[in-house]
């Protein structure tokens, strides 16, 4: 994973410097762009393995930059956003952003987001097993175990958990989860999601009130955490 290249598009010199130093210390190759125009050109000339995109750029709306990039760029894009803008974040995730970070963020958070965004889907036909600390899943047998003991899950609970585990470390929006697990007509029926997340937590978390696996991203969605972030 190291020596992957990352493009930073942010107009604030301090943020660019901080990110560059941090990323280089983790052996990433870093490109910097100050404006949307510069960023789009840089991405086209030397396509990076991942883009860190600030939503508040001076020359173009961040959502438009994201849309332009997504017309051809398929690698991960992580959005940098400011506080109290859940709607912006959800919109960016709907428009193809892989994940998001809210300024101010911790370095640990930054690295965790980048790591899970760069991780290719681990699960394919050849590898039907997933292991997340005390939890294991067999995608073929559709069996989930906690500390090697089978957990009884309903079909819906299993679909929800399997979907989250396949996207381990990545935030999934409420709408996305509802759409994938219950179907398009349930996109706004968030009460189902609340109830099933609560049920799942009772079954898979050691302390359902202090969940370490299914983490709430307030106003945005849920994130399944496999190892420590």
């Amino acid at each position: 994973m190291s020596s992957a290249s990352i493009l930073i598009i942010d107009d604030e010199v301090q943020i660019r410097k901080l990110l560059t130093i941090t990323l280089q210390s983790y052996d990433f190759k870093v490109q910097e762009a100050v404006t949307a125009k510069e960023g789009l050109t840089a991405a086209a000339n030397h396509p990076p393995d991942l883009v860190l995109l600030d939503l508040g750029l001076p020359d173009e709306n961040g959502h438009d930059v994201l849309r332009h990039l997504r017309e051809w760029y398929t690698s991960p894009i992580i959005i940098l956003s400011v506080q109290s803008s859940e709607e912006d974040i959800v919109k960016a995730l709907d428009n193809g952003a892989t994940d998001y970070l809210v300024k101010p963020f911790r370095t640990g958070e930054l690295m965790a987001r980048i790591r899970s965004a760069l991780r290719k889907t681990i699960f394919d036909e050849n590898n039907p097993l997933g292991e997340f600390k005390d939890l294991t899943i067999d995608f073929v047998a559709r069996v989930v175990k906690k500390d090697n003991v089978n957990i009884k899950l309903t079909a819906t609970e299993y679909s929800l958990l399997a979907l989250m585990m396949k996207n381990e470390g990545k935030v999934l929006t409420h709408q996305y989860l509802l759409n994938q697990v219950w179907g398009p007509s349930y996109r706004d029926e968030s009460q189902y999601l609340r109830v099933f997340v609560a049920q799942l937590r009772k079954k898979i978390e050691t302390n359902p009130n202090r969940p370490v696996h299914i983490v709430t991203e307030s106003g945005v969605g849920y994130r399944f955490v496999g190892s420590t972030i």
Binding site: P104, T156, S190, Q191, P211
Partner: protein, 358 residues
Amino acid sequence: VNSLFYNSSIKKQYLISVVTILTAVGLGFMLSGFVGYRVIAFVLLVTVSILALFFDILPVILAAVLSALLWDFLFIPPTFQFTVGTTEDRLLLLMYFIIALIHAVLTYKIRQVQKEVRKREERANTIKFYNTLLNSLSHELRTPITTIIGATDNLLNAEKLSDKDKSELLSEISVASVRLNQQVENLLSMSRLESGIFQIKKDWVDVRELVYTTLQRFEPALSNYRANVFIPENFPLFKLDFGLMEQVIHNLISNAIQHTAEGTDIIIKAECIEERLLITVSDSGKGFPQDEISRVFDKFYRVQGSRPGGTGLGLSIVRGFVEAHNGSVTLHNLPLRGAMFSIEIPTEVSYINRLKNE
């Protein structure tokens, strides 16, 4: 809308002026058998003066003119015509008219001056208020900034520092920036609330999830307290703005942690009474001074003699966000010790979690 209301109230003033004068004239007419027409002039003059106390200048002038004409027409001999018989009566009518006008203008002027004085007082109070605010705010912001600047300056001359000093300075910077971030977040919430463009986005919320997510953000500070959560099994879902309610509960717990001793109880309870969500947060501190309870939710208000730290914004944000849900928040001291904040929000309730799915 405002000017429309003003216009209609002006129209009402004209109407009331005319009706009052007509009533006074009617009264005068009934009295005319017992008293002379000059006494009736005084009755009318008193009526105009009373109107002048409450109304704008133009309706009062109308009342003055109308009453003078009616007095002339109905009472001054020869009655039922506008001609005035004697020079004395002509002089009297003229004086009546002038006195009524002077009353109208003088009362109007006095009220203008009063308004001016009140405005000036308000402005002085606002300035005083903002000075206090600026003092406390600049203190709260400058303390962490000073720490950060000072510590980084020291670290730039790192040769003189031991490794232990370095790591201590670094952790000071870390603590200061978290504190600074908290203050900025509060200020942003406040300006969001006051901007008017602030919108509340309700969705189904699992209150248990809401409370515990908020509590997790307080680790490890909260582990020094005995935090207890009481939420009934199968508690229904409520339509709330998760982000806003998270901050409401965060600010209440943060308030409790700041002002009560470590090792004491913090109790968070949730109940559903009919279509209303009730959340209480109580602590075991020394409670609030009884005469200040009504003011703790005021913006920038800080309880007398309270510990430094905090901008006096936390509780006013609580009130603002709860009221954005059409709810209310109250505070009272508990009988033995401590204080309890109670939030009550009328909202849609869903019992879907009590149904057996699948």
